[in-house]
Amino acid sequence: MKALCWYGTKDVRIENVPDPQILNPRDVIIRTTLTAICGSDLHIYGGFIPTMERGDILGHEFMGEVVETGHENGLRKGDRVVVPFAIACGNCWFCKNGLTSACDNSNPNAELLEIKDGASGAGLFGYSRIYGGYAGGQAEYVRVPFGDVGPLKIPEGLSDEQVLFLSDIFPTGYMAAENCNIQGGDTVAVWGCGPVGQFAIRSAWLLGAGRVIAIDKYPERLDLARKGHAETINYEETDSVIGTLKEMTGGMGPDSCIDAVGMEAHGSFLAEAYDRTKQAMMLETDRPMVLRAAIQACRKGGTVSIPGVYGGFIDKMPMGAAFGKGLTLKMGQTHVHRYLRPLLELIQQGKIDPPSIISHRMRLEDAPDAYKMFSEKDDQCIKVVLRP
C-alpha cells in the first residue's frame, strides 16, 4: 500500500509499504477514505520531535471503512468510522474515568515516556517511538488497536469532510474551550488561528462566551476567524497584543486565554531570537512566546487553557505572574473519546460547519508537497485533507 513515511527533517516520502495485519485480537484494519495533516505533524516535519525512525508512517487524523476485524467488537466490514488519534484500551482506570489520552495500556514503549514525563499516557498514531511508534493514518490502510473502543460509527447523511475532524482537531478545540471554564458572557482570547484555534473559537461560542478575540498574523486565518465571529488582532500590526487586549477588555484582560500555538511559537523579534537561539543550542526544547503572552494578558483569577503541544522544557516561564494573578492553567492531550458523540450531534444539528476550515483538497500522493505548503503557510494554506 502507499504510505507517507518520514525520512528526516523536511523529508517525507510516499512509499510502497506492506499492508497492515491484525496483530492483536482487538485490532481492526481500516481502509482510509480521508486523512489530514495536523499542525502537530509539522513539529515532526520540522525535526522537533525526537525518537522518530526512518520509514515511520505519519498521520493521526483519519477515517475510513472497516475491512477486517480481529475479534467480535461491534464493528462489521463496510462500517464507516472515524478514529481518535490517541489509542485507548477502555479498561484501565484512566479510560474508565474519561481520561482516554492518559490510557495506561496502549503505549508499548511506556517506559521511554515515563523517563521524560514521570508517567506515560496513551499511544498515538504516527507520532514517534516514544508515543508507541504506531504506524499512522496518512496511508491507504491503517491497523487500529482496540477497535471496540476507538472507532466511531458514522451514520448516513454526513460527508467524510464533515466528520473527519472528530479524530482530533474539533475535540481539541472544544476541550480547550471547555477547559476555560467559560461563564456566560466571558471574553475568551485565542492565540493561533490554525485549525485548532478555529475550532476553539467556534466552541467558545457554543460554550457561552460573550466575546471571542483571535490573534494571528496570516490574513486568511484572521479572515476565517472573523467568519467564526471572532474579533481579530494581527500581532504584526500592533504595538502590543497584551496592551490591545487590555484596552479591548476595559483594563481587566480576557477572562480566559487559549494557547493554540504550542512549542513552535513566533513572537516579537527579540523574543523569537532568544528562544530560537536557545533551541538551536539545545538549551531549550520548546518556544513558549505565546504561553508567556497568555499569562501576561489573562485577567486576575482567570484561566489559561493550553491545547498547543509542548514536548520538553521551556525557559523564562512567568511563574511569578501566574501565581501573582492567581491563574488556573489547564492543559493536555485531548480526551477525544468522550467528545465523539456529543460533537457528532452538534455537526448533525448544523451548529458547526467543520469543512469550512479546509483550504486544500489533495491526493495522498501529493502529501510531500502538502507538508511543504502547510509548513510555509504558502497559498493561504489553513488545512489540507488528503484522499488516498
Binding site: Q21, N91, N105
Partner: protein, 253 residues
Amino acid sequence: MERIFPRVDRRELESTRWISALAGGAMIAYGMKRGKLFGGLLALAGADLATKALIGHHLYETVGITSVTRKGVGASIPHQLGIKVNKSVTIQQSPSTIYDFLKRLENWPRFMTNLRWATQKDENHSRWIMRGPENAEVEWDAEIINDIPNEILAWRSVNCPHIDTAGSIRLEPAREGRGTVVRLSLQYLPPGGSWGALAAKLFGKDPAGEIADHLHKLKQILETGESATTEGQSVGGSLRHRSGATRASQSEA
C-alpha cells in the same frame, strides 16, 4: 526502585565503626605508599576494614562472596546483600483474579518476555527456563517459601548455577474503584555482586527496566486481555528488503 549496593548495616557499635574506619584508612594510605605485594595486601585489608565500617559489610561481600561469614543462614541471599528491586503497579482487577492468574505457570511467559517456559515439578517447586544472553538457556528451580491466597506469593531460587534470587509479590486491595496494588520485590545476587550489577547496567542490561516492562505487560494482559505491540506493523523502507503481500494482490487471488 532499585538498590545496587548493600544498605548500611547498623548493627556495629558506633565507636568501633570509627576505629575501624580510621584504621582502615591508615592501612590503605600506608599500603599504597609502601607499594609492592605487601603494600597491596595491606591496602586491600584496609579497604575491607573501611568498607565494613562504612556500610557494615566486608569488601568481599559486595562482590558477591557470602558464604564465608554467613554460614548456616536460611535465606539464600543474606540480609541486605544483593540487588534489590521494588516496583508496584495498580491493576484494575480483584486480588483473587490476579492471584489465580499468577498461580498458573503457563501465564508467566505472556508477560515475562525472557522466560521460555515454566513447569510445575511438585507442589512447592517449579522449573524455569529463561532466555539468557546470546540466546543461551538458563534453567533454575524456584521454591515457594510463602503462599497466602490473594495476598502473597514468595519464592527463592535453588540449583541456580549463576545467580541467587528471591522475591515476592504482594497483593493489596487498592482504594475503591482502583483494583489491586501489586507489589513486586526482587532480590538477586548476580556474579560479581554489586560491582557486577553496576557494570552490567553500564553496558546496557538493565534488570530493573526489564522488571518494569514485565509488570507493565502483566497489567496490560490482566486489564485488556492483550499486550500492546507494534511488532510486525507496516513501516517504510521494508519493501526494499522483502516483498509483502498486499490487500490488492490478495483480493485478486
